[in-house]
Structures are given as C-alpha cells and as structure tokens.
Amino acid sequence: MIDLTVVWAVIIGFAIVAYVVMDGFDLGIGILFPFFKVGKDRDTAMNSIAPVWDGNETWLVMGVGGLLAAFPLAYAIILPALYAPMIAMLLALVFRGVAFEFRWRDPAHRALWDVAFTAGSVVATFAQGIALGALLQGITVEGRAYAGGWWEWLSPFSVLTGFGLMVGYALLGACWLNWKTEDGLQRQAITYAGRLGIALLLMIGAISLATLTLEAQYSQRWLSFPGVLATAQVPLATLVVTFMFYRSLKLKKDAQPFVWALALFGLCLVGLGVSIWPDVIPARVTIWEAAAPYRSQVFMLVGASIMIPIILAYTAWSYWVFRGKVGHDGYH
C-alpha cells in the first residue's frame, strides 16, 4: 500500500518547489529594482509580474497551510522556532504586496512605494533564507514543542543562507527580465544575470560545505562510500547546468537562461533532500512522527489530487494570457 505520509511529503515538497519557481523571480525583481532606471524601465519590470505575483505568493500559503494540515506537529514546532524571521517576512510581504497597487495610485509618492517594494522583497527573501539555514543547523525540540529562545535562528550559517537565497532570487529575477523585456532593460538584465550566476555558484559551494559540518547525518549521507558515488552527481550536475546557463546567456536566448537558473535551484533542492530526507524538521522530527492521522491525509488527498491539476492548468492559462514581451506600457 502507498504510504500517504510520503505522498504528503511529496506534495508539500512540490508546493515549496512551485513557490520557489514562481515567486523567486518576482522577489528577485524587487531585489534588483533600485538598479533600474526610474520611469519606463521600473514600470516595465513591475508590469512583467503584476498580473501573476498574487498567484505566485499563494504557493507560500499552500506550503504552510499544507504543513499545518499534513504535518501539524512540524508546523507547531517550526513557526515558534522561526518567530522573528517569519514575522519579518510577513510584514515585508505586506509592504511588497500593496506596493504593486499603491505605486500606480499615488505617483507623488511612487519613490516611497518603490523603496517599500524593494525593502519588502529583500527582507522577505532574506527571512526565507534564514529560515532554511536555521532549520538545517538544527532547532531545539523538547517533547512536542520548540524549546529554544527567540534568537536561536541567528547564526553565521543562517545569515549565509539568507544572502545565498537573495543572490539566487536576484538571478531568477534577472533571467525573467531577460525573457520578458526588450532593449536597455534586457541588456541590463543580461549583465546582472552573468554576474549573479557566478555569485550563486560560490554561494552554493560555501553553503554546501558548511552544511556538511552541521550534523553528522548530513556528512554521512554525502560522503560515506558507496553513497558518495551517487551524491557526487549533484555537484557535478550543478557544474554542467551552470555551463549550460552561461551558454544560453551567450547565445542570447530569451527563456533558456531562466530555465537553467531554475534547474540550479532544483539541484539545490535535490541536495537538500539528500541531507534531510525523511525528516520534516531536519535531524529532529521525521515525517512519520509529525504526520496527521490517516483520515486527514485521505480527505485532503481527494481535494489535492483534483484541485492541484486544475490549479496548474489555470495558472498556466494565466501565464499564457500574459505571454510575450511586456511592452513599454505593460499590461496596465
């Protein structure tokens, strides 16, 4: 019989992947925003994501809502452990979300809302990166509750993952703009993508090596023989994908650099999976310990297996409607 706990772990994992794929680039555009010329370029960059950001962000709610539903114990331990970064992320998303509407409604204060958009994107991304780092380095759990202090998440490693994610999202944002825009803005995006690619590779290297030192579980997974023959493929593939990324950038492809950048993210997530599977809280709580009862899993699975394909279909349709390059005047 199929283990529904594993099925739900895969679904939550899918939601996280979907979130990174879809919201990564629009947070990245927020991070890069101050570097674009005020006026046409900024409007175009904003317009390239205006119709889709809300749907993208819904995957974040899906991830956390799914966690509550499928792994309530993990939800109950993780969120108090990440209290400060989570609150910071939520407030940052408030600024960022309203900036999409407010900057059009209030040209006199557009500069202010541009700052809010960037600050919101930077803080939200940094907080997500910190959250990842804090979970990887291990949180204090006693019984069914978080037992650490409210600053436990802060460490050199979590700050490193925070910056790492900022570089990664910025790369996705640059690649998206390369795909969706023209002329000066596109050229600017290509330049940024080139630099950020290197920076991300360095970040991935640093974070990967640092991760090995955190928990015995991680280094065992990666380095013990003969498993290392399989796990070594991940860094190798990372190098290959990086090469393909730069090749597509050099050939002036529109969509391909974005896809290869996503592939880099995909490999990072595979690496993450190698380190932590089958834990829902790395090195602390397994998916089976945290799983919701069978009846909850079945009930939700009915809905998820009907709705997720439908959601993907109309999300794809929505992207299709707004396909092609964004003109100067945008979708607005």
Binding site: A50, P51, D54, G55, E57, T58, V61, M62, V64, G65, L68, A69, A70, P72, L73, Y75, A76, I78, L79, P80, Y83, I87, L90, L91, L93, V94, F95, G97, V98, F100, E101, R105, D106, R144, A145, Y146, A147, W150, A292, P293, R295, S296, F299, M300, G303, A304, M307, I308, Y314, S318, V321, F322, G324, K325, V326, H328, D329, G330, Y331, H332
Partner: protein
Amino acid sequence: MIEQEWAILLARIQFAFTVSFHFIFPAFSIGLASYLAVLEGLWLKTGKGVYANLYRYWLKIFAIVFAMGVVSGIVMSYQFGTNWSVFSDKAGPVIGPLMAYEVLTAFFLEAGFLGVMLFGINKVGRKLHFVATLAVAVGTFVSAFWILSVNSWMQTPVGFEMGANGQFLPGESWWTIVFNPSFPYRLVHTLLAAYLTTAFIVGAVGAWHLLRDKANPGARKMFSMAMWMATIVAPLQILAGDMHGLNTLEHQPAKVMAMEGHYQSHPDGAPLILFGIPNSAEKRVDYAIEIPKASSLILKHDLNAPLAGLDTIPEADQPPVGIVFWAFRIMVAIGFAMLGIGLWSLFARWRKRLYDWPLLHKFAVAMGPSGLVAVLAGWVVTEVGRQPFTIYGLLRTADSASPLDAPAVAASLLAFVVVYFAVFGMGIWYLLRLMKKPPEAHEAPLSDAPIRTAGLTPAPAILEGENK
C-alpha cells in the same frame, strides 16, 4: 502577572488586532466581487455603458481592497503557528485539512483569475473576462465557506476523537465536522453581513456624489442598487441573526448570557436589557433599562420561560461580560438602522424622490462604514463570547499558546500595529480618494496606459460598445 500570562495576553491582542484589520478587507471584497460580477453581467446583457463605467470605477477600488486582504490574510495563516502552536498541534488534524481546502479551492482561484480580471480584458475578450470575474467572486465565497467552517468547529466542536497524544483527531465523517451545528447559521449571517457592508459603502459613495450632482447616471445607478440591497437584505439579516442567536443559545449558552447581561438566572421569565452598564464585580447590570420577560419571549418564544444566568456557569468558564454585552448592542443597533434606511429608500422610491432627498443621502453617507463596524462588533461577540476557550469547552485559550517569551510577542505586536496603521492607513486613504471622484461617463480602465504587448492582437476592447 507571570511572564507566561503576559505572553498569552499579548498574543491574544495580536490575534485580535491582525484578524480584525484583516477582516475589514474581505468583508468588503466578498460583496464587492459579487457586485462587480453583477455589473459586468448586466453590461454584457444590456450593453448599457453605465454598467461598464461602474464596473471600471469599482474595479480600481477592488484591486486595492483585494491586495490589502491578501497580504493581511497571509499573516493569519502563519499566526496560528507563530503564536498558537499548541492549539495548532492539537487541532491541526481537524482544522488543517479544512484550511488546506480553502487554499486549494479558493485562494488559487481568486489569485489565478485576478490578474485576468484586472488587466486582461483586452487579451481574452469579454466572455472569458466575465468568467474570470465570476471565478474571483466564487473564490471569495468558497474562501468564506471553509474558514467559517473552521471557526464554527472551534465554537461547536463535533465529529472528533481524542488521540492518545492529546490531538483532536477526525472521526468517521468529515461531513459532520464541516457542517458542524453552528456553521450554516454563521455562514449565512457572515455572507449577508458582507453583502450589506458592500451595499452601504457603495450606497454612501453614490449618495455622496448625488449630493453634488443628482443627475450623475453612475451615482444614481449605484445608489439605487445599494438601496435595493439594504431594503431586501437588512430584514433577512435580522432574521438570520435571530436564528444564529437561538443556535448559540442551544450550543453556547454562556455566550448568550453575556450578550444579554444575565448574571442571574430568571426562573419565571427573563427581562430584555436594552441598555445598562454591566458590573461584573457585583454581578449585576447597573442603570439597566429593561423590558420585563422580553428576553424569554425572544429566546424561548414564551414570556414565562425560565432562563439560566451566568450563576449556573463556573466562574472559570465564564466569558467577559462587558465587551460582549456592548459589542452585541452596537451590532444590533446598526442592523436596525440599516433596516430603517432600507425602508426609507423604499418610501423615497414610491415618492419618486430617491435621487432628490438630501437628508436621505446624508444619512446614507453617514452609514457608509456602518457595515464594517457591525461586522467587527459581531465577531467580537462571537470570539470573546467563546472565551475562555479556543475550542469551546475543550481547550482553554491559556493552554493554546506557543511557548514564547513575552518580549518577542510584544515586539511583533508593536511591529504589526505600526506597519498596519501606516500601510493600510495609506491604502484606505487611496480608497477614499478614488471614491471621492465621481463615476464618469467614460471611466478609465484600471490604468491610464493602453495595452501593447508584442505579438498579440488585442481582442475587442471594453471601451468599444459602451454608452449605447
């Protein structure tokens, strides 16, 4: 107080603050989404430009309201975990799936079609665009369905088993859980409240512009539509509220005792206290103005029916009386004021003075935010009335919170207060500024710029075919 008590009090204030601020927006956008669907439907059916103009006028407002609802709503989905982790762990197996269904069936639907609704009319054509508008409207309804089911289950928990690890586990039938005893009443009462909230805002905007130019066709149309809603829905709402109250009496009698200010039992007919000042120390209502036996008449349909008071409830299980008592009176008073304006507008229609009665219009302007006030007051009644429990009778609020340090909760509360007032204050100011502009004969689309995306031949624009 010891530190843990401070932390819980602060967490409660934080939840009350963030959820109240949040609910302002959906209370408005649930009704507004349906109103937009009606306007676009009427426009497609009749081809009359006034509907297209009103659609565009309110769409600009909807975009802002919706954005604020989304960002303040994301906060709520995390708040359960950050501040109420013990509750989340224990109740997660039951309420988690319902909330997951909300995300799957509502949030994605709204978000997925919102982009097309706001920006896509020139790309997809009118019919598909109408489908997008309908999808968003249905999404707001479905969202209310699930989250109210969750709330209702916390008020009237049924259909669960207790797990060995202290979790509430789902029983055999999800149907029992979803359609728990208070849910149908709460759903109807809340949805009608949302429609009334929107109707009174739309009516106030219409009235405001009628006071300046009683010939403005957009202002006339929106005022008339809003007043029909008030006339028809306000009495239905009073009826629904009464039934909801009877349901509460059956399942949560202590809440009704607090609403009524009944500290003492009344073995032969309880009075209806219209006004008074609840005095919880002395367990009586000071300066009470009351109608003898009327409470028994309303609640039991019998003048002499005995009604139990809070003296039958252990002290530790009683909700705070004052806040519930007052919030209930505010809500009821607004409900009857709404009924009054509905009847007044009907009279004005009959006298052919609907668009030409400044006093009516001024009253309608003053009533603009009344729906929001009533909705918040109603939620205060139902949520504070559930205290001291999160899951009624089973899990105490004091046993639900996260193991947090008070300074952490205080700092985050302060951050929420500052950011919400700043950001949503600005947003509400933008809304008022948009509402201040009269609806024009050629209402501009969402943004002033035309649409020119390369590689696409724009479908027939909304601009064509209006003002026929």
